[in-house]
């Protein structure tokens, strides 16, 4: 999982029941729109995040196009917590990718 995805998930997990629109997430996470939307698309495909159109009351009164809101699904919130925890654990105990056998490099 990329760092950006982790940031988005952390932002959404701050209040899993709260719906947020894309621009609010960009501001919250501090990432550009071109990074946030692919992540949201991916999370939506995995059904971690659900999206829905804004209620007509708000945008018609304000006279602007409707927005799409994103929110973690109950299952998605649990999976996100689990994924973040496992990422954190992996960071805490890094595994050596290259384990040189002792004596080979220094052998004569």
């Amino acid at each position: 999982m990329t760092l950006q995805t982790q940031l988005v998930l952390r932002a959404l997990l701050e209040d899993p029941s709260k719906e947020r629109y894309g621009l609010a997430l960009c501001e919250l996470v501090g990432l550009p729109s071109g990074t946030i939307y692919p992540i949201l698309a991916r999370l939506e495909q995995l059904r971690w995040v659900e999206s829905f159109w804004e209620d007509a009351d708000g945008h018609v009164v304000e006279g602007r196009p409707r927005r799409r809101y994103y929110r973690l699904t109950p299952g998605g919130a649990e999976q996100a917590r689990h994924a973040l925890a496992s990422t954190y654990r992996a960071k805490k105990s890094p595994q050596l990718l290259w384990n040189p056998e002792p004596g080979i490099a220094g052998s004569s």
Partner: protein, 202 residues
């Protein structure tokens, strides 16, 4: 307030009322459509053996009712859009009036009409940004283009400054290949999400 301004402010209020009525109508029609769907299923179940003439007739009639109810709901939704457009047009008329009255040094608009105008002001996303985004969505799967474009149009409409809109569009254009990749090649788990480089890793 001049007669014309009074008329335009009234038009604003009337359009808003029409919008409210249309919205209630949509709720009613959607409820009717849902009821018709249930009715169709119940009628088909009650008509007896699957494949029999009674079954086919009952199911066909119920389906027809459900179709018409769905059509009515769609028409009602279009009426809401139309009412919303009328609200915007009325507000735009009021703004236009205000603009010309100020330019011609005529009587100033009252606070009330100005408030009505700004409250219902049509804030549309700039056409150039939308066209550019629409062009770049060619990379996305065809069935998903309208949904994302409308999403971004909503965000663009909310951005106040030209600089903010430019930045939003620029970053979206930069991320469009990644977006296309994400939509075209879904990953089975989150382990590979976020970056095309990680695609396929579990």
């Amino acid at each position: 307030m001049s007669c014309r301004e009074t008329y335009l402010a009234g038009a604003c209020a009337a359009a808003r009322a029409a919008y409210e009525v249309a919205k209630e109508h949509v709720a009613l029609m959607e409820a009717a459509a849902a009821h018709a769907e249930d009715d169709a299923a119940a009628a088909a179940a009650a008509a007896g053996r699957r494949g029999s003439t009674e079954y086919v007739l009952a199911a066909g009639a119920a389906r027809m009712r459900a179709y018409f109810a769905g059509h009515n709901a769609a028409v009602a939704r279009a009426q809401v859009e139309h009412a919303a457009m009328r609200v915007r047009l009325a507000a735009a008329g009021l703004e236009h009036e205000q603009h010309w009255r100020q330019r011609l040094h005529l009587q100033r608009l009252t606070v009330r009409s100005r408030e009505a105008s700004t409250r219902t002001r049509a804030r549309r996303a700039p056409a150039a940004s939308i066209s550019l985004l629409a062009l770049s969505t060619v990379l996305l799967p065809a069935q998903q283009r309208p949904r994302w474009l409308e999403d971004w149009r909503g965000e663009l409409g909310a951005l106040e400054t030209r600089r903010a809109r430019f930045r939003f569009v620029r970053e979206l254009l930069r991320g469009m290949p990644r977006m296309a990749w994400s939509l075209r090649y879904p990953v089975p788990s989150m382990a590979g999400a976020g970056s095309p480089r990680n695609h396929g890793r579990s």
